[in-house]
Structure formats: structure tokens, C-alpha cells
Symmetry: C2
Subunit: 343 residues, 2 copies
DNA sequence: CTGTTAGCGCCTTCAA
DNA sequence: TTGAAGGCGCTAACAG
């Protein structure tokens, strides 16, 4: 009669369950469930009782049971191409700050700039029935695209802007950023302008394209001055490519680097070789990493709103998950040219 | 009679279930379950059938259902104090490489060097009944400690070595690293040696202590030359503290920085102010970040085995999760002094 | 506003 | 080696 549970044979976790909370509060389990979830249809008095019971027992929901029963998790999956780049860390942190207080768990997937790995992660994480998907850019496999669409899970795309304007996205125009870089360098009277990009993800390519277009418009484009490599971006690589380029094209007088770390490497080698920056060569970076402002000379760079992108994307996600539509699906957060000593 | 499911009223996900796989394979659900999990007691022939059925239906287990039924997840929680430091990224990547192929999901928690936040994360993640815990260092709240112990979940501690030798840990002696730094600088004939540390986590403090001890032994210790700040480590901060120290103590002839980024900032300011490195001041960093080898002058640093720590810790975890004991619970992976141009 | 009933999809226990 | 029965902890439906 008393408490015909845990006789033996039980596989229980040992942790308190909603049933026990309900019993202690003197209500039915479902009422306890509703009270704890903040569902409106519970008397304030009961809510209080249940809350207290939960605290007393040190109750924590079992997410597995919840997910199973509701066919919905509380997790939001974020897929980024890299964690070694501070860029995405800043974005992730911002996402956390928005989503965690609302009770969502942020699940991070790193696909190492590999489309196949992204598809793989997506397939895996789909099993968790995430409430939302926060993805980076638009460049992915066809089956990944299909999975996303078929899943019907709310999705926000970060970093780039959808040219079709059909998808929810938060970012800035990578193309314009490249153009701005070129215009800045041209405004300094430079004639032999180069672009050095590594990693060659979609965004690096778009920036390169913007740069190229602006040069073409100005009649200054020379395909020989475009250095692209799929190798991962790094300080060492930047120095290497810089020296190679100056060796083969000594007349280069300005370089736009697709990422700050490449530019850092260039500044180091310039210092080592006595190449005057910006007198002989202007150097412009991208992303404005924290170290850039302290370089010798201080690196001019295009500062990107990575923290704001994470925040806004997460906020959009909140809207979508609440079942609302987003009035303005394309959010352009722009970028800022920081002119320092290197240009 | 036909298929009395999905009549209406169903709350199903729409995704194929183990039941459907079993039906297609012509076996009972439990056999299908066993086959898919690789439990030995299933005939090879049946396993093959089930596998094919699963592929055909594009079946993916429902982790929530699995976790609920087995009272066990397949996730391993990793808690790190920061993601902005490449150090932990390298470790995390290594952990992923070991654990993911074995079917474990790695859940990352960042506690921003806050003991309270770590405790919070721990409490939250415990609800997921993780199979394992990979934690950073030994400095945590008493209740966090109790939760870990009470949970009975296998745990491996990374980065430091347990002086008590009672816990499973993979790392190196932070104390010895500090001593080594001092000895190196002393061997270069330096007499006025300083330590600059930021963030002041346990490991930074331990390195400082090792450094101090070595100086004391050599009769060279001066407490005025110990600069400690709780501010987060950064390039900018390093430059700032460097200039301040040289301003107040112009006779300093060697500085050990608790983190490479601080040292980077110092090198930049030295360059800007015409302070000769290493002639006037030797500069030694810690962690050997990728950029360090490219600095001007190239930064001497103590290289830490962060990738190996992640790998070994994950391997230990695999052993523990398999129910085995670890013969040697304390794994000292050491560190390496990289002597370059700055010392 | 509250409770009853009935599963979510899988795995454990036990028996064959 | 395989299967039947039952339940993990929670929540959706519907009724009161």
C-alpha cells in the first residue's frame, strides 16, 4: 500500500522523478509538469507548491524522457567550419549568451571546412530532433540542403547574405567587403594590388571576387596578383605567400589578405626583411583579430561583426522557434574598415 | 489488420523506428536492437539482414529513447575554461578524434574561468546522464566536487597532475614548467627576472610558483618582479604590463610570461619602443602558440602537449567507460622548452 | 484549471 | 541465440 515502487528490480536512475515531485506537492504528475514548464493553465498557488517540492528534492528534468515524450528537444545545433579561428568562437559565445538563458542547449559541431563532414554532422544531429539549426554560409552538399528542407526545422544562416533573399540570414556582404578593401587601397594611390587568400571557403572566394571586380572597374586588375591556396590559413603561411609574391612580382604595392593571420605573417616577414610597410607595400587584413591593432606596424583591417551576427542569429532563431515569422529575413550587419598604420 | 498504426492521433516523429526495421528484416525488435548495437549474441546472418533493413529505411536511432530506456547516454561532457585560447581548441579536437569514431557524442561546456559557472554547467549536463566527464584541472567548487563524486561517472582530469595521485589525470607539471622557465633564463646569465601572469587560473599560479621557487633557490627572487592580474590574457594586456614593468623596474633583464599572447604584446611594444630583445630583456612565453615561431624576434616558449593531452585523456576515458581500471592513473606528458631568438 | 489515460522508441529482464 | 513482456520519465490528448 505505502509506496509500491523500487521494490527491487528497478532500473531507475536514483534521481528524483516528476512523480515524486508531484506527490510531494500533492498534485498529479501532469500538473507538476505543466507548473515546471510554465504552462499558463496552472493556478499560481500550485505552481509555487510544485516549485518548492522540486527544489526540495533537487529535481532536474530528464531531458531524454522529455524529448521522447514531446518528440522535441531543447537543443539548437550550431555548425561552424572551424574552431581554430577566433571569428567563430566570438559568434558561438554570443549565441550561447542569447540561447542558454532561454533554456536551450547549444550543440556545437565543427566540420573543419569540409562539406562532407558538415553533411555527416547534420545527419547525426538530426537524430536529436533539434529545435533549431544555425548554419554558416550557403555552401553545402545537395543532400545536406535536402535534409534541412525536409526536416522542417527552423534554420538561420550566418555570415553571408542570401542573394535570393529566401532564407533567414544574418551577416554582411562578403563581396562588398572585398570591394571596400580594393577601394581603400586604390584611394591610397596603389596601382599593383594583390589578393592573398587561403582556405578557399565560399566567403574567402566572395571577398576575392569583390576585390577583383573593383580592380577591374578601376582598370587595375592583374590575374597574376591573385594568390589562392586551399591550405588552411595561418601566420606561417601568410609570411610564406607574402615573400613568394614579392619575389615574383617585386612591383606589388598593396596586398589584401583574406584573413588577418595571413597578414600578421606578412608583417613579420616584412620586418625581418626590411620591407617597409606601408611605404613599399600596403597591407590590409580581414576580420580585425584582437592582435591586429598591436602589430608593428598596426594592421589595417576590415572588422567584422561576428559577435553581433551570433546574437542576432540567435534572436531570429528564438522568434522562429516561438512559431513566429521573421519580417525581415535578410539582416545585413555590415562591416567596418579600420585604417591603421599598415595602409 | 493490415498496419494498425498512424490511424490518427499519433504523435510520432515520422522517422522510421526500430520496429519498422525489425519488421522489414523479419525479426523481433529486440533482435534488431541487438544487431544494430553489435551485441554479440546475434547470428551474423541476422545482423546483416537488420543492417540492410536499417540502411534501406534510412534508420537512425532515437537517442532520447535509447537514453531513457538504458538510463545511459552516449555523450561525454568536456568542460574547459575558455574557447578563446587555442590551447583548449587543440585539446578538444583531439578528444573528438578519439571519441567520435567510437560513437560517443562530445558535449563541450565553456565555463569562462568561473568556478560557479563550471558548477552550473556540471549540474545541467548531469541531467543528460553523460557516460564520462573530461574536466580541466582540479580547482573547482566543493559542491562541484561532490556532484562528480556522487554521480559515479568516470572522470579524467586534464592539464595538471594530481599531487595526491588518486585521480585519473593527463597533463604535465605546471610547477616544473615554471622552474624550467626560470632555469633557462638564469642559464642565460639573467639576474633580474620577472613573471607576468594574467587570468590567474590555478595553472598560471602554479607556473608562477615554480618560477618563484627556482629564483629563490638561486637567490634571485624579488617579489616586486611578480606581476599578476586577474584580467583575461591578451596581446594588448601583455604589451601594457610589459611597458609598466620596465617603467617601474628598468633593470629587469628577463621576463617569463604565463601565456604566449602576453609575450606577443611585449614583443610588439619592445619593437615600437626600440627595446632590444633579447639583448636588454629576454622574453619567454608559454604554450608555444602557432604565431610564436614567426614573431620578430622569434619567441622562445614552453611548448605544451595539448593535442596529446586530449588524445590520451579520451583514451583513458574509453578504458574507464568500458568498465576497466586504469593501471597508471597519472599520465605526465611533459613539456618542451623551445629556445628561439627572444632569449 | 486539473486529472486520466496512454503512449513516445528503445532496452532490460527473464524465459524459452 | 531469440523473443515476450514491461517500463524508463515525461507529456499530448481529451475529458471533467
Amino acid at each position: 500500500m505505502t509506496a509500491p515502487k523500487n521494490d527491487k528490480n528497478t532500473r531507475t536512475t536514483g534521481r528524483p522523478t516528476l512523480n515524486e515531485v508531484a506527490r510531494l506537492a500533492g498534485v498529479s504528475p501532469i500538473t507538476a509538469s505543466r507548473a515546471l514548464r510554465g504552462v499558463s493553465t496552472v493556478a499560481a498557488e500550485l505552481v509555487e507548491k510544485v516549485r518548492q517540492a522540486a527544489v526540495e528534492l533537487n529535481y532536474v528534468v530528464n531531458p531524454a524522457a522529455r524529448a521522447l515524450a514531446s518528440a522535441q528537444s531543447h537543443s539548437v545545433v550550431v555548425l561552424v567550419p572551424s574552431l581554430s579561428n577566433l571569428l567563430f568562437i566570438d559568434t558561438l559565445e554570443a549565441i550561447h549568451r542569447v540561447l542558454r538563458p532561454k533554456g536551450f542547449e547549444v550543440v556545437i559541431g565543427n566540420y573543419h571546412y569540409s562539406r562532407d563532414e558538415e553533411e555527416d554532422l547534420l545527419r547525426n544531429y538530426m537524430a536529436y530532433q533539434p529545435r533549431g539549426l544555425l548554419l554558416t554560409g550557403f555552401d553545402r552538399t545537395e543532400s545536406a540542403r535536402r535534409m534541412i528542407e525536409a526536416s522542417n526545422i527552423p534554420c538561420v544562416y550566418m555570415m553571408e547574405l542570401d542573394p535570393g533573399a529566401g532564407l533567414n540570414c544574418v551577416g554582411f556582404s562578403q563581396l562588398k567587403a572585398g570591394e571596400t578593401a580594393a577601394e581603400h587601397l586604390i584611394s591610397k594611390g596603389r596601382k599593383r594590388l594583390a589578393y592573398i587568400g587561403a582556405q578557399l571557403d565560399q566567403r574567402t572566394l566572395l571577398r576575392g571576387e569583390g576585390f577583383r571586380r573593383a580592380l577591374q572597374n578601376a582598370g587595375l586588375y592583374d590575374p597574376d596578383l591573385e594568390v589562392l591556396t586551399p591550405r588552411p590559413s595561418s601566420v606561417g603561411l601568410g609570411g610564406e605567400l607574402f615573400l613568394q609574391l614579392l619575389d615574383s612580382h617585386p612591383d606589388v604595392d598593396a596586398i589584401f589578405f583574406g584573413n588577418d593571420d595571413l597578414a600578421h605573417g606578412a608583417l613579420f616577414e616584412a620586418l625581418r626583411c626590411g620591407i617597409k610597410i606601408p611605404e613599399q607595400v600596403s597591407v590590409l587584413g580581414f576580420n580585425d583579430l584582437p592582435a591586429s591593432a598591436h602589430m608593428v606596424p598596426r594592421l589595417s583591417s576590415i572588422s567584422t561583426p561576428r559577435e553581433a551576427i551570433g546574437r542576432r542569429a540567435a534572436e531570429q532563431m528564438l522568434t522562429l522557434m516561438a512559431g513566429n515569422r521573421i519580417a525581415q529575413p535578410v539582416v545585413d550587419l555590415g562591416f567596418e574598415l579600420k585604417v591603421r598604420e599598415s595602409t
